[in-house]
Symmetry: C2
Subunit: 149 residues, 2 copies
Amino acid sequence: MKRLVTPALAILCAAFFSMSSHAQFAKTEDAIKYRQSAMFTQSQHVARLGAMASGRVPYDAAAAVANAEVVTQISRLPWAGFAAGTEGGKAKPEIWKEQAKFKELSERLMADTDKLLVAAKAGNLDALKAAMGPLGETCKACHDSFRNR
Amino acid sequence: MKRLVTPALAILCAAFFSMSSHAQFAKTEDAIKYRQSAMFTQSQHVARLGAMASGRVPYDAAAAVANAEVVTQISRLPWAGFAAGTEGGKAKPEIWKEQAKFKELSERLMADTDKLLVAAKAGNLDALKAAMGPLGETCKACHDSFRNR
């Protein structure tokens, strides 16, 4: 039991410290604008990878890596913008009521983007396609639960 | 002469390919929102470093590195959002009329953020302060010339 609990606690602590070091917004509007800005920036790079994965644009290995690097980096950012007391924007109140679920999905996204970068570096379209599927499912799962349309 | 020209050309080519691999927005509004999102995200992390450098918040070496890493990464992004035909938002038309000057300032910013990250990793407040000065001047120089208030 101890073996199962310790890594989970370590992840929670890491997430907490990571958030607290960034969660310093002058006002709620800044936190909302910050998380929306990070999400939008990320979405543009995900869209480019999606276009390659679906064949709408030709596969370009170097561009895939460049975009995946940005997605991996930016996937770390939005969470600090959901600090306590920053309800609003497109965020559903459930985010602050179901913190464990929200955190789990945020960690799933970061794990997915890590795998995406590995897949992009593999340098073939099939690897990219295989990594984009789970990433898309994670985006959808979190947006369905926690984002107003 | 050749020695002077070649590195300059190499930088221009690198900037061109870097931009072309990213400059794929569905519509002009996306490009405008993308560059504004990247700039705003960056500004929030610069503000945290500014608060430390000015003494408004206590110096925290680890947070300084974390914020400087984000600034360095995001400083690469906005430029793709200023592609030809994407005039609008807060961007002055001069951006598209004075491309050489705009590119020079964008490259100066990226060089400044590289130095900022080195300074943050040095782990002392004086190094951070010394790197924030030139970065702030570059932000101002570019905004004065190319951003509407």
